[in-house]
Amino acid sequence: MISLVGIIAFILLAPVIGGIIAGVDRKITAHMQGRVGPSILQPFYDVGKLFEKEMTVANDTQRFYVISYFIFMIFTGALFFAGGDLLLVIFALTLAQVFLVLGAYSANSPYSHIGAERELIQIMAYEPMVILAAVGMYVVTKSFNVGTIASYANPLVLFLPGIFVGFIYILTIKLRKSPFDISTSHHAHQEIVKGVTTEFSGPTLGLIEVTHWYETVFLLGFVYLFFAFNPLIAIIAVIFIYLFELLIDNASARVKWQLLIKSSWMIAAIVGVLNLAVLYYLGVG
């Protein structure tokens, strides 16, 4: 059952919530580093500023790709919060991400190309675990439908502890946090120039930022699913997970891409597949 309220609420509220999460993120990060840090509304100022800047694009296709990235990310999140098919959500997420990579490839710049390649590596690294998470939820609840999964009476995290751990592992990649921010990162960390966003400037970069807010809200919604039996516990869990990601971000240095891909595939293969195997053995599936 697709809920129209979910779609509208996501489209309108996600940028506000995502922006505030980004602002709180920067404030907490600053405090962890012994700094005062910017205002909580700083991400909104940043995006407002980017839209005030001159429109300079490397070529017209680049703008098309960024707008597609934006639209498909909204589609992903809207479908998710409307209670749609989880597999379709994941495919739309990948498609959105591929548009960003294409946008980076469309500019004739070696830095942008390196960023795009690293973004592809990130997609390769997190994709198996995301699919496993969807499969795990299907095995337990007998449905790929987000609405059905969310209304499942028992805590999913107890059935899927391995898959949950694996998902948190790749969440670091998706949120662009250290140690896995190899294609581009937030804060003042510099990737090879600025990785995948090197050739985007002004309004197009602003659009990428807003898209990332949508993405953050969608990803935290995915974490919510693991605890969906009780909304209060779920929200506390989501906040705790995000703070944990911040701690990891500030406590670790960036790793090489080889380690990124090896470790995330290993985690997916060991804890994810093992979790599924145990479920089958116990006859849950």
């Binding site: 700094r35 910017p38 700083q42 407002g48 500023k49 800047k53 120039v193 050739e199 400037s201 002004g202």
Partner: protein, 159 residues
């Protein structure tokens, strides 16, 4: 009301500096001064930058680099010359290989003298630059309107 002065992103380039001013620029980012509380971020990318901070007296090797970086920064933009070498060439002014001041290459908006410039004066220079950035934005908008208005009457005359 604009957001420009609330979120100035900086591109820092070392044009033959002795590194003294560069260390002072980086000191602004440390917990002691923490310029990020003003929304100031040190980006490594000219396409994301609003303020171009240059240190050192430009020499023949990086004259083109400075010009290139300046052109890559999208409008509105301001240039801050940090340190006496960047403002006038300093003690290297007479050297055969030195341009002597950034303003010989690109237009400079704010000069921050000192050898090396103190973090306090660098922050002061950047805050001064914010006012100029706002002014440049209003000029950019009115300039756009003027060109649009200038185009319209010409079209009318042709008819």
């Amino acid at each position: 009301m604009t957001y420009l002065s609330k979120s100035p992103w900086i591109l820092h380039y070392d044009a033959t500096s002795c590194n003294g001013c560069d260390i002072e620029v980086l000191a602004c980012l440390t917990p002691m001064y923490d310029v990020e509380r003003f929304g100031i971020i040190n980006t490594g990318n000219p396409k994301h930058a609003d303020i171009f901070v240059i240190t050192g007296s430009v020499n023949e090797q990086n004259r083109e680099v400075v010009k290139n970086l300046y052109e890559q920064i999208p409008n509105p933009k301001v240039v801050v010359a940090v340190g006496i070498c960047a403002t006038s060439g300093g003690v290297f002014r007479e050297c055969y290989n030195v341009a002597g001041g950034i303003d010989k290459i690109i237009p400079v908006d704010v000069y921050v003298p000192g050898c090396a410039a103190r973090p306090e004066s660098i922050i002061d220079g950047i805050v001064t630059a914010l006012g100029i950035l706002e002014k440049k934005r209003t000029e950019m908008i009115s300039g756009l309107k003027e060109t649009q208005q200038a185009e319209l009457p010409q079209g009318g005359e042709a008819e």
